[in-house]
């Protein structure tokens, strides 16, 4: 008999706002399904009166499925439905060829609170890999499910999970007067719990998460004739402030890893260069000085370098510069043009928008051998953003003449389309931090 342990008791104190979500959220796997580790996720047994809306089993199963690394077996095939370690018979799971088994239980505690426990097993080794218990309010059950997914993902792949994270994105809809309405949204990584944090008649671009996961920098317009400006908004309080009171325009914000500085594009006297802003001190340092367009700065994870887009050698390409300044070095020499680069979390790769003659596609550039692998089909793919674990890349694409979000695994094997909203969706940004 295997001895049971409860690996950790985590009380979630994060007070997440819950908002009604569009019922039509779907994630369609377009490539790479039916592969991965066969895993049996048993429906969690419920004990109590008021069954919560969030079904942990289905959320976990969907998380694992869309990661492309798991094949979630249908519950109809299960020979038993254990919810407690004492009830696990490994031969039931070997028979249906499950390599991993997840069981769990949701117990109503009253006062809108629940206890959730789960256990993860290696079926062939008959070994318990993880066991955890949470006590949370009903509004946090989805988050608990994503944390369960994160534990499973890490235990079985060796890579930290990125399910319990958030994304920001921009939606565009026309109102009854045919005016475009832009919304800046924040949602869980699976598109649920979507909340509007800004609504405006002006375009919104380039949302960028601060490392604390509480602030977003983004680009919008203060008035019809203001030109592009950068705001920083606290997503919990809604408080927003314009960063620079410059005469020129500013855009393309990118936070440093310590959250104290923003790299950005600023135009003064008609020239677009990269600057670094000390946010607290409001002090600007100029990093590039070139008559061409320099924009889209992104920090290396160690903070020593920035990459940026420049057309100083003709068509736009990716350049690298020390965060302390100095000469810029051209990185990309492949394709017609490359733009919008950002580093993978391990700093070894750059994801970017590449044009090799087939429109705009998402590509990964290996900083070591300087090779570029095209991951997507294009022709209007834009705004790639790494998941915090580097396993997935979310980006904006077009489907049926409408902007939608899509995701591709960093190795290009798995592809999916995320339908998060009825209108146009674009400009995804994946938070680097857990909720």
């Amino acid at each position: 008999m295997i001895k049971v342990f409860i690996g950790g008791v985590i009380a979630l104190l994060v007070g997440l706002l819950s908002a009604p979500t569009w019922a039509g959220i779907t994630i369609e796997i377009t490539q790479g399904q039916d592969t991965g580790i066969p895993i049996a996720v048993v429906p969690f047994q419920f004990q109590g009166q008021q069954r919560p809306n969030a079904d942990i089993r289905n959320i976990v199963s969907a998380d694992l499925y869309r990661s492309g690394r798991f094949l979630s077996l249908p519950p109809g095939d299960f020979l038993s439905r254990p919810s407690d370690p004492d009830q696990v018979r490994f031969k039931d799971w070997r028979l249906i060829k499950a390599e991993a088994l997840v069981i769990g239980r949701v117990t109503e505690l009253g006062n809108d609170h629940y206890e959730v426990s789960f256990y993860l097993y290696n079926v062939f080794k008959e070994k318990l890999l993880a066991g955890y218990r949470w006590t949370v309010g009903s509004s946090q059950l989805r988050q608990v499910a994503h944390q369960v997914s994160d534990y499973i993902y890490e235990a079985l792949t060796g890579i930290p999970g990125a399910f319990d994270t958030r994304i920001a994105y921009v939606t565009v809809e026309k109102d009854s007067g045919n005016t475009r309405q832009y919304q800046l949204m924040v949602a869980d990584s699976d598109g649920h719990n979507a909340q509007q944090i800004l609504r405006t008649n002006f375009p919104i671009l380039s949302p960028a998460w601060a490392p604390d996961g509480k602030r977003l920098a983004y680009v919008s317009f203060a008035s019809r004739t203001s030109g592009a400006m950068i705001w920083v908004q606290n997503i919990e309080t809604g408080e927003r402030r314009k960063l620079l009171q410059e005469k020129g325009t500013a855009s393309a914000p990118a936070w440093s890893a310590d959250g104290r500085r923003l790299a950005l594009r600023l135009s003064r006297d008609g020239n677009h260069d990269i600057y670094i802003l000390d946010v607290a001190a409001s002090r600007l340092t100029r990093l590039t000085k070139h008559p061409g367009i320099d924009t889209e700065p992104a920090w290396s994870p160690d903070g020593r370098y920035l990459v940026f887009t420049s057309d100083r050698s003709g068509r736009p390409h990716i350049f690298r510069i020390s965060a302390a300044g100095g000469p810029a070095q051209r990185l990309t020499r492949v394709g017609r043009e490359n733009a919008g680069a950002s580093y993978s979390p391990n700093g070894k790769h750059l994801v970017m928008v590449t044009n090799q003659g087939n429109g705009d596609q998402i590509g990964v550039f290996y900083t070591g051998n300087k090779q570029l692998t095209v991951l997507t089909d294009g022709p209007l793919d834009d705004s790639p953003t790494y998941s915090p674990n580097g396993a997935m890349i979310m980006y904006a694409t077009q489907r049926g003449n409408q902007g939608v979000l899509a995701a591709v695994s960093a190795d290009g094997r798995i592809k999916q389309i995320l339908r998060l909203h009825q209108g146009e969706v674009r400009e995804p940004a994946w938070s680097s931090r857990k909720q």
């Binding site: 005016t179 375009p203 592009a228 008609g270 924009t295 057309d311």
Partner: protein, 178 residues
């Protein structure tokens, strides 16, 4: 006459209406100084009339240029990834510059735009560079620099929504607004 001023009255009214329509959510910000419909079929009522009652077309997206009166044309077009003025664009810009140089005190906004190819941020910069190309010629022609503001909406305000060269060629533009 500062026509921009008349438009701001219209803008202000729209702000009030928009402001009432929005319901405030916790954690959400709303833009109070919001503006009118800026879609490029800018014959929309908010933008295209001033309080003198005579309609003024700010933006023309058709190509029925009155070649005898370049002042009637408020939009100039560009080649892909270029801010170079075509001879036709140069003629239009020079006509406006001449008019503006002779009417000091008028505020001008040069609004640059790009087609959808390339990243949004690059196009934001490209649109501004196009507006600056017009501003530079204005300055050479004697328009006071302080009267001219160059901005860009990048690829965010397309005139034509299709994904082909005929649409893109209409979207690569600078609108001369005064």
């Amino acid at each position: 006459m500062r026509r921009i001023f008349h438009f701001s009255l219209v803008l202000l009214l729209s702000v009030v209406l928009v402001g009432c329509a929005l319901n405030k959510k916790k954690g959400s910000a709303e833009v109070e100084d919001s503006s009118v419909n800026l879609q490029a079929d800018a014959t929309s009522s908010g933008l295209s009339s001033d309080d003198s009652g005579s309609a003024q077309v700010l933006v023309t997206s058709d190509n029925t240029l009155d070649l005898d009166d370049p002042l009637g044309t408020r939009v100039i077009y560009f080649e892909f990834d270029s801010n170079a003025l075509t001879p036709e664009a140069q003629r239009i810009v020079e006509a406006h510059a001449e008019y503006l140089a002779g009417n000091p005190g008028m505020a001008v906004v040069l609004e640059g735009h790009a087609d959808e190819r390339g990243t949004r941020e690059y196009n934001l910069a490209l649109g501004e560079r196009r507006a600056n190309a017009v501003a530079d010629l204005f300055q050479v022609m004697g328009v006071m620099p302080d009267a001219v503001r160059s901005i860009s909406y990048g690829e965010e305000r397309p005139v034509a929504m299709e994904h082909d060269e005929s649409a893109w060629s209409l979207n690569r533009r600078v609108e001369i607004l005064y």
